[in-house]
Symmetry: C2
Subunit: 388 residues, 2 copies
Amino acid sequence: MSKTHVAGIGLTPFGAHEGRSGRDLFAEAGLAALNDANVHPNAVEEVYYGNFIGELAEGQGHQGPLMADAIGVTAPTRRLEGACASSGLAVRDAVRAIESGQTDVAIVGGMERLTNMSTTAVTSGLATAADAAYEGRAGITFPGAYALMANAYFNQYGGSRTDLAHIAVKNHANATTNPHAHFPRSITIDEALNAPMVASPLGLYDACPISDGAAALVLTSERYAESRSLETPVAITGSGAGSDRLALQDRSSITYTPATEEAATDAYDAAGIDPKDIDFAEVHDCFTIAEVLALESLGLAERGNGIRHARDGVTTPDGRIPVNLSGGLKAKGHPVGATGAAQVAAVTGLLSGSHPNASKVPDATVGIAHNAGGTVASATVHVLEVIK
Amino acid sequence: MSKTHVAGIGLTPFGAHEGRSGRDLFAEAGLAALNDANVHPNAVEEVYYGNFIGELAEGQGHQGPLMADAIGVTAPTRRLEGACASSGLAVRDAVRAIESGQTDVAIVGGMERLTNMSTTAVTSGLATAADAAYEGRAGITFPGAYALMANAYFNQYGGSRTDLAHIAVKNHANATTNPHAHFPRSITIDEALNAPMVASPLGLYDACPISDGAAALVLTSERYAESRSLETPVAITGSGAGSDRLALQDRSSITYTPATEEAATDAYDAAGIDPKDIDFAEVHDCFTIAEVLALESLGLAERGNGIRHARDGVTTPDGRIPVNLSGGLKAKGHPVGATGAAQVAAVTGLLSGSHPNASKVPDATVGIAHNAGGTVASATVHVLEVIK
């Protein structure tokens, strides 16, 4: 299998982009990625685009051709949707096409426009990622679903709201030096613990924000990167995906996420690495408890032990394995369809040195990006490595 | 490249399925396909699922894991969306994964639930396939968009409402012997011409219906089919996709659909065929004029000449190249996300002999399936051949 080179990355700031359309946001990210790669739009052979609820947010489906056109590309497009894992899935399918030799140059990315919706509309829109008949009908939304998982985790393994607060504090601290972050400001443990309760035990600072934004990557084959002398110091060397039953009630455990484990196993095997080889990780922390579940399913913490990692300094920038150096979904923001691609962009920048927080992992050579949809019914993991 | 074997097909009837959920519909089609293939759910390695507006229709996004679970499959899933080409795109990406050797067994399919929506909701929902900012805001819906294309075609090449009526009459006649069809009854030219006008020059019988339904395919590698001694008389030997600017206003011509031509060129090249080798075609006739545009872009009619093909008997069952023997979207129905996969299922059955209309093409060895999204901003073409 040929490596998949990350030839260019592009991001909008994440946050509330009042008055801007999704097309406008993706154009900014996509053109930035093409420019970063020094690749002409005409060279793009396939477009893999992630979006979750564009029909609800902007009355806009069929965004593949729209977004391709917005960056001057006329190539086959598809929108991939797997809730919050939409652009992680886009990355995976693009990597598969490139690894197989079918495609040399792909634009991969995603966008979500959410802050133009009412609070009620965005909450119910995001809730379409759950099982509408059995979870939605019972009134569950995602803070409630993750609160169930957090309570079950506390019951099974122990842990406290203070443990979770350390995750929020860590990720906010990391975001302070990321100019693309939605909330680039630090918070304290006390602020986290005293914030309004959203769904017990999860308070306001246990939840990621509702963000607008877009992210894009130019992915190329090794052959293409070399033939064009592109500067591609980072490659995706492993890609995996996993799936689980959609509704929490249908699973044998809600304190573990096998879809992530399956994705990680496939990605690590493809890259020929073990969890101990990983220098840092961007993981899907839509809620603080989600970071804990991710660490354990990714093999970065023992089961029942991930809850302590932020508090014990294992996942802080000076720890054994820094997690969410970008600020994570928690503080960088979570424009749903953009998140998976943005994580790969962050890992790329942290490895290549272009990310503002790259100085925190100066010797890193292996990073991973973990993206999840719903209560981890969909998951993708990508291993990125320095290749020069 | 390895051929992609069609090991099994499954369909629900197309029509109004009052009281049934999308999950229920896909389960019926998916389990039928697995049963037809004699493949166990555990053998499935990837799920490629098409759906257009599930969030609007049933409040259900993230349908990949939901539909996989409904048929007992736990494998990586993704929803593909390209408006009415959603499951054509699903077929294409599955074929690419199988051709490359990455995947041996995939479930591919799609579903749409529409008749539970109000007429207003479904019309505006389907309109999200157009450019919301520039077409939708101007009030355009798809009957209007295709009416613009029909008028432009008439102005450029000639043709009449009677020519279009012959397409509707042909497709309705074909549907009379298809038990899965939404409208399995014949109509006359006079009925078509005297039906209520929808968007001039397109009347009621120029438009496909709003249908519910699901379709599924089990696609396998040659290696897998042979190792399991599966009966797979038909294979997909060519696959292509094309893309165009989303809005009609942005195109240099609205009487021709280059996305289809691009998809066809790629598919024919891969299969090593010319248009003259094609024995019959299932094409995307969401409106009668769309069948005309498809024939011309697929190389099955000269530009400006496709309008006469039904009237002249070229595309009737006894003609040179029968088109839409299943009844087409026009009379078989158009459950949007299911359509592309259903077309491939129809071509498979027509070639293998299992389709009720297979006796009309007894010596056929090559058929194609053409799926389009929006006003053909997305298109896929698949070539299927008898392989024994």
